[in-house]
């Protein structure tokens, strides 16, 4: 396969590049206590929340940006970013939402009304720091399910927020989590009561709009005993020249016999061929299986971002708890990703499965970094990890850095990794049967990722496949 042909096949045109042209109330760039107080006031937060933010900011100031990732990027000037931006008009119901915003969503393929009628999926659409009214929250409320923005939760459900926020990712966990804890502007809050199985996929759509605004979402999902919820996070962003910072925190709490499925399809702007522009994505996602038999799965398809630093993790505290991580990460153009997962086995009979598929093309650098830690009291723990990397072209890189630490003799830890290129033999076979090169590459790549796609909720698996094609096969959507 010639290099030119390869390049054509993998540099998809980014089709979602445009911006919402509405008035925004944007805070001037810079970060200090005044900005934080401004954010808290804008959101009408109670005193206790502002105090927590300030506490986090104090910790943030004493920390240093981590640089152990296999990433190279221009230093981020945190003082040149604006930490709040909101569309001017408030919205009480869908009808009151600025029509220009609604139009933007149409282009993105999520017309709220249509979805409400046909697909039965509740959508909490976040536009640059403010939640556009939640569509289905009334209907879910009948089952006792709370699905609202984090700002509303802070006001309406303070006990739950106080109990669980920061319980999975403490403020001082890492530099970006501390930053997020101080300046988070919005995010999703979900609470599923005991024994309730949430009847629909819950989803959130993000969008980053104005120049120099970082997006700092904070999501908290609590699955009470015996409950179940499947949550999807999908995002897109417009073409920009300035790098945009995204530092989110997601906390999942799973109690006894409950289960959370968290899927992410990420389509942030990746920057151009020379690494210019694109989103910087530094995310801390963590789940704690607090009760017996608790189960959590992270499934993600990442195709965007210029820089990705992300390790969805599971703390398996409850006996028999299960943590799963399924990921497809694509780095092409000049993207760099240092991602992976952490599985911490504390309880007895815990199980974790890690299936990570990385695809690198053009000048992409894809790094898997994982930690499997088995405490000495964690009896009968099992971990299985499979990290495979596919390299397309001779200028990209694929790296695997697993950390396996076991202190319990009965624990079984198994890790395998392979790094290969697209097999010439396989490609030739397809071509001999009349399939052209680009489609052939697509087939092989799909086969490579099948295991992960099978773990996504059906509606999103389809979207994910399309997204992968878009990223790799040069077809313009």
């Amino acid at each position: 396969m010639s290099q030119q042909e390869l390049n054509k096949a993998v540099s998809g045109e980014y089709s979602l590049g445009f911006e919402i042209d509405i008035e925004q109330e944007t805070v001037p760039p810079g970060l200090d206590e005044k900005v934080i107080a401004f954010i808290s006031r804008k959101k009408n937060e109670p005193e206790w929340m502002l105090n927590l933010r300030l506490k986090a900011f104090k910790k943030y100031k004493s920390m240093k940006e981590p640089h152990w990732g296999h990433l190279q990027y221009k230093p981020i000037d945190y003082q040149s970013i604006s930490y709040f931006s909101a569309p001017k008009k408030g919205a009480n119901s869908l009808e009151e939402v600025d029509p220009k915003i609604l139009e933007a969503y149409k282009k993105l393929g999520i017309p709220l009304e249509e979805q409400k009628q046909l697909q039965g999926i509740a959508v909490d659409a976040v536009v640059d720091s403010v939640s556009v009214k939640t569509t289905f929250s009334e209907e879910l409320k009948k089952q006792g399910i709370i699905f609202c923005s984090i700002s509303e939760a802070i006001k309406d459900y303070p006990q739950l927020v106080k109990k669980y926020m920061f319980s999975v990712v403490p403020m001082n966990d890492n530099y970006f989590a501390a930053l997020n804890s101080a300046v988070f502007t919005d995010g999703t809050f979900v609470y599923i009561p005991k024994g309730v199985k949430c009847p629909m996929e819950l989803s959130t759509y993000f969008r980053i709009n104005a120049l120099n605004t970082g997006q700092f979402e904070r999501t908290l999902i609590i699955a009470d005993e015996g409950s179940y919820v499947s949550y999807n996070e999908g995002c897109s962003a417009p073409t920009r020249d300035e790098n945009q910072l995204h530092a989110a925190v997601v906390e999942l709490v799973i109690l006894k016999n409950a289960q959370i499925k968290y899927s992410t399809i990420q389509n942030w702007y990746p920057g151009d061929e020379n690494g210019k522009g694109g989103i910087y994505n530094f995310v801390t996602k963590r789940a704690i299986c607090k009760g017996e038999n608790a189960k959590v799965s992270w499934a993600q398809v990442e195709t965007g971002s210029a820089i990705t630093w992300k390790y969805p993790s599971c703390i398996l505290e409850g006996d028999n708890s299960v943590g799963e991580f399924y990921s497809v990460a694509v780095t092409t153009l000049a993207q760099q990703a240092d991602t992976g997962t952490k599985m911490i086995h504390l309880g007895n009979n815990t199980r974790s499965t890690i299936i990570s598929k990385g695809i690198s093309a053009m000048k992409g650098q894809n790094t898997y970094r994982g930690l499997v830690k088995i405490a000495s009291k964690a009896k009968n723990a099992h971990n299985y990890s499979e990290c495979d990397s596919l390299l397309i072209g001779d200028k990209c890189g694929a790296h695997t850095f697993p950390y396996l630490e076991s202190k319990n003799k009965e624990a079984k830890v198994e890790h395998e990794a392979t790094t290969t290129k697209i097999s010439d033999e396989q490609l030739f076979y397809l071509r001999q049967r009349g399939i052209n090169e680009e489609d052939g590459v697509g087939m092989i790549v799909h086969g490579f990722c099948k295991e992960v796609f099978n773990k996504l909720p059906m509606e999103y698996a389809v979207e994910a496949k399309a997204l992968l094609d878009l990223t790799l096969e040069g077809s313009v959507g």
């Binding site: 990397s389 990209c396 694929a398 396996l404 079984k412 830890v413 790094t419 290969t420 290129k421």
Partner: protein, 404 residues
């Protein structure tokens, strides 16, 4: 530690090493390579360097190095030994202790091979409460085949800190086989061996390390392999008591069609902590290269720990790269099979552990060395040497089966 260095008169090699050391600094708690091997007590102590008498070296069949000084060596026409060679050291080594060793060593022990050769080196430690820095370099010219068996004895020493290692240059199409056996004892000593090997076009480096015992010992290896060069790196570890033993290695494929196979087997007992931190880096110039890395660990009881970090850094697509790592206990089906034949659980366990370790010993071609290693392992594991026919000895079987 710093004070020791200031008042020495340094030659060119030592000067270069010192400059590099000052740039990188000594390892701290945040240094990745020392994440599982704490050296704060080494750093903080004010060490006395071991002093040697001026007795000249004698000629004998074996190579003996006592407390870092060569006491005897074979008068072999196949090699040259010198003590004042200023060698080229690696200027991009990841380990500051490599540079510390070069800075602090009196004279570099330089061995240049002239023909195919087999040598045995005994490194013996007898000192008490001293730091022992010394470096050895091997120069293996093109097309030469060399076998080095390297044996350590630290039974009679106490509280020492040994900072040593090899600089090995393997010429084009040359072969170097290095078999190293280190059994450490609970005598509060610490060993840090930091190596550098350069395998030139078509060269082969076979490294077999055997680490048994109760002490604290870390080996750090950096190997660079060029076009069509091979490295086979095998490590067997059996650690017990409160020992902390392991391997940190970085194998870098610079050349096309280069190949590396790295295998590590680890058995941990009591409160021992084992380390296998191994990076394989295939550079963009390493088209057509292949690497397969595998590590297995068995924990014999709760509280023993294995830290395994098999890593791949690949910068070119035309490669074959894979690694696997497992940590666990003995295979249940295998245990059951032996038990179903009347063998007690205890005995079955022993058999399986020996089988696990033996895979690494049985690849050694020389039968005598093999037997020695079997004995060494069994002594460490059983705490006594087997007197009768060794468990996996094949010699008498051959004889009997061929009898009429």
């Amino acid at each position: 530690m710093q004070s020791l260095i200031k008042n020495k008169k340094l030659n060119k090699t030592q000067q270069t090493a010192l400059e590099k050391l000052e740039t990188i600094g000594l390892p701290t708690k945040k240094t990745e390579e020392y994440r599982y091997f704490d050296i704060s007590d080494i750093r903080e102590k004010e060490w006395d360097i071991v002093k040697h008498s001026d007795i000249n070296t004698t000629s004998s069949k074996e190579f003996t190095i006592i407390d870092g000084k060569v006491e005897s060596y074979p008068n072999d026409i196949n090699l040259d030994i010198s003590f004042d060679e200023e060698i080229d050291i690696d200027k991009n080594h990841f380990d500051p202790m490599y540079y510390l060793g070069h800075t602090m060593s009196e004279k570099n022990i330089h061995i240049k091979f002239k023909n195919d050769c087999t040598i045995v080196i005994r490194q013996i430690f007898t000192a008490q409460n001293k730091m022992i820095p010394y470096r050895i370099s091997f120069d293996i010219p093109n097309n030469i085949n060399v076998r080095i068996t390297d044996l350590f004895e630290d039974m009679h020493s106490q509280d020492i800190f040994v900072n040593s290692g090899y600089d090995i240059t393997i010429g084009q199409n040359a072969v170097c086989t290095l078999i190293q056996e280190k059994t450490t004892y609970n005598n509060n000593s610490k060993f840090i061996f930091s190596h550098y090997a350069k395998v030139n076009d078509g060269g082969i480096f076979n490294l077999h390390t055997f680490d048994f015992g109760e002490g604290k010992s870390l080996q750090l290896i950096k190997a660079e392999i060029e076009d069509n060069a091979h490295i086979n790196s095998y490590h067997l570890l059996f650690a017990k008591d409160n020992s902390n033993i392991g391997t940190v290695s970085k194998i870098i494929h610079n050349g096309k069609n280069s190949k590396s196979i790295q295998k590590s087997k680890n058995i941990l007992q009591d409160k021992a902590k084992g380390i296998f931190d191994a990076l394989i880096n295939i550079k963009n110039s390493g088209k057509g290269s292949a690497t397969h890395q595998n590590s297995q660990a068995i924990l014999l009881n709760d509280g023993a720990m294995m830290a395994s970090k098999p890593q791949l850094e690949i910068y070119i697509d035309d490669v074959e790269a894979s690694h696997g790592s497992t940590i666990g206990e003995l295979d249940k089906d295998q245990m059951f099979y032996l038990q179903s034949r009347g063998i007690s659980q205890q005995e079955a366990k022993k058999l399986l552990i020996l089988a696990f370790a033996n895979e690494m010993i049985d690849v050694i071609e020389d039968k005598n060395t093999q037997n020695f290693l079997h004995q060494s392992f069994e002594k460490s594991y059983y705490n006594k040497a087997q007197m009768e026919c060794i468990l996996t000895c094949h010699n008498c079987e051959d004889m009997i089966l061929k009898e009429k």
